[in-house]
């Protein structure tokens, strides 16, 4: 009896296992400790935003002053004292026709944002009206096997954001389709790694603009004779080519640096090559592959603006360029609005990838 007690006290296997499990439940105390940290983060962020806005306001008003003085001085010199005084009065009155054109004030940017939103609503209403109006005609055309009549008016700012997101999505898909399989092959095979190494080293730092020109050369020739608009295709392929490198390098690194213990397990079990790749190597490389994909999304969104701007394909890039070119009174403010939208969308895309990364990864991912 005494013996059996001694054994059970030394080997309470399942019982001892249970308290260990609770370690993996969320720790209330730890969550509570984190809460003041969150409040502090919010407070500091809000305070730094206020400082940012203040500095922006101050520098805008300084630049406004410099621009106004220069304009008054020029008019005075060219047309005399009276014209100069008239100009000073005009500027002081805030008349749009003589407004100094420089860095916009935060308030102006907010106004421009509201204007763009109102513009979007107006265009949307127009579109819906057009669709309702053409519905019977289109139904008739569909019966005759003709293409429907579509709205071809000016796109709103939000439409442009949508187009940009579409371009980035297609570009991202292109880069995944190239980089993940290629990265796996390079990671598995030393010969391929050496064969591709120079290419990766040389092409990785090439500017998005040059990629665009290269893609343009090729796509232009391949689509000869077709009158469809190739600008979307060109810009999404360019985005894909610019952004794929992070995924390529990370995938091959992940595949080639699998923990030796896991490979030993595969060797002892004599797993076939397919099982080895899909059950051991790829799952083990997933965290790095997704790190690469996260970088790829950020890079894709960043180069997109420059590429759209040059490719003249619709989207945020061309919006920014057109606003810069037409030099309207609120153009500068609209450009700044676009800047914030670009930043926020990029931030959201990154958060999204981070979320996906956490879902698929067996390791804890750092933000």
């Amino acid at each position: 009896m005494g013996q059996s007690q001694a054994t059970t006290s030394l080997a309470p296997a399942p019982k001892a296992a249970l308290p260990a499990l609770t370690r993996f439940l969320p720790d209330r105390a730890a969550l509570a400790r984190r809460a003041p940290g969150a409040a502090r983060t919010l407070l500091i962020s809000l305070a730094s935003m206020a400082v940012f806005l203040l500095l922006w306001q101050l520098s805008a008003s300084y630049l406004y002053g410099v621009e106004a003085d220069a304009r008054i001085a020029r008019v005075t010199q060219e047309q005399g004292e009276a014209a100069g005084a008239e100009m000073a009065a005009c500027i002081a009155s805030g008349n749009i026709s003589c407004r100094p054109n420089t860095l916009p004030f935060p308030g102006e940017v907010v106004q421009a944002a509201q204007l763009l939103l109102a513009d979007h609503r107006a265009i949307r209403a127009k579109k819906l009206a057009f669709r309702a109006e053409t519905a019977p005609v289109n139904a008739a055309r569909a019966e005759q096997g003709l293409d429907p009549i579509v709205y071809t008016g000016r796109p709103s700012f939000l439409d442009q954001v949508g187009t940009s997101l579409k371009t980035v999505a297609v570009g991202f898909l292109i880069s995944l389709l190239i980089a993940v399989p290629l990265g796996v092959l390079i990671g598995l095979n030393d010969t391929l790694r050496i064969a591709f190494n120079w290419m990766i080293q040389v092409f990785k730092p090439v500017s998005p603009v040059v990629w665009l020109l290269l893609v343009f050369m090729i796509v232009k020739t391949l689509t000869l004779g077709s009158d469809s608009d190739t600008s979307f295709l060109i810009s999404s392929i360019s985005v894909g080519l610019c952004a794929m490198w992070a995924t390529l390098v990370n995938t091959s690194l992940g595949v080639s640096s699998v923990n030796k213990d896991y490979l030993n397990v595969a060797r002892v079990l004599q797993l076939g090559i397919g099982k080895k790749i899909f059950k051991v190597i790829l799952p083990s490389a997933i965290p790095l592959i997704f790190t690469g994909m996260r970088i790829t999304v950020s890079v894709a969104w960043m180069v997109l603006i420059a590429i759209e701007l040059l490719a003249q394909s619709p989207g945020l890039g061309s919006f920014v360029w057109e606003e810069f070119q037409n030099g309207g009174t609120d153009s500068n403010a609209k450009i700044i609005v676009a800047m914030f939208v670009i930043g926020l969308v990029g931030f959201l895309l990154d958060r999204m990838m981070f979320w996906v990364q956490q879902r698929v990864s067996f390791e804890t991912v750092r933000a």
Partner: protein
Amino acid sequence: MSVLPAPSALSLRDVVLDFRDLTKVYPTPTGEYVVLENLQLQIKKEEFVSIIGHSGCGKTTLLTMIAGLNDISRGQILLNEFPITGPGPDRGVIFQSPSLLPWMTALENVLLGVEQVFPQASRAQQRDICRYYLDKVGLGNALDRRATELSQGMQQRVGIARAFALKPKILLLDEPFGMLDSLTRAELQDVLLEVWDKEKITAIQITHDVDEAIFLADRVIMMTSGPRAQIGDILDIDFARPRVRKDILNHPDYYGYREHLIGFLEH
């Protein structure tokens, strides 16, 4: 000190593992480094052997050569009279770190090997084998936990289940409890012995721990320090099985064995 049994003492049929002039040489920039030299050893069927020695004496090299993960420089290791040329699931390895695939559950980790060894068995049969062994190591209620969610001790339990579930000819244990705290270690030694008493798979275990060696093994093989490590001494442990820790600790022979081993290691 020469207590080496003459080869004739064992009938050939009972020898599972036969080391013949086993030598391992690592090339280094300054010439060859001989880890093991002309090692002779025979291991019987259903025997539990512990190999003990100082760090760097080539214990792990020896074990990885049996596992087929490390090339043999000279000589041979015969497994049931056939020389070992590479790794295979007929030799189950319990690694020092549990080496579970962290993206799989406990069950999937065991299943990966079972599918390999019993490909003809139905899906349900394969799962039953895994469940049986996981239950035996006390993880019956943690089958679907991911490896990352298990404590180190629980992970090593899965490692034990994985090795036994392959129904190997030989079980190789590379300091399997070295990374665990002493309480967990004792617990897992009991778990290991419990499963082993049922399966009686010839086992070779490497350890630093004198008490572990005595508690688990039928024979303790003491290795001299490298380079050119040799078998220094062999100690037969004549405790009856199944063994109960308390009985072993109170056994009159226990401290004699212990002193013998410590005496050798401190020599």
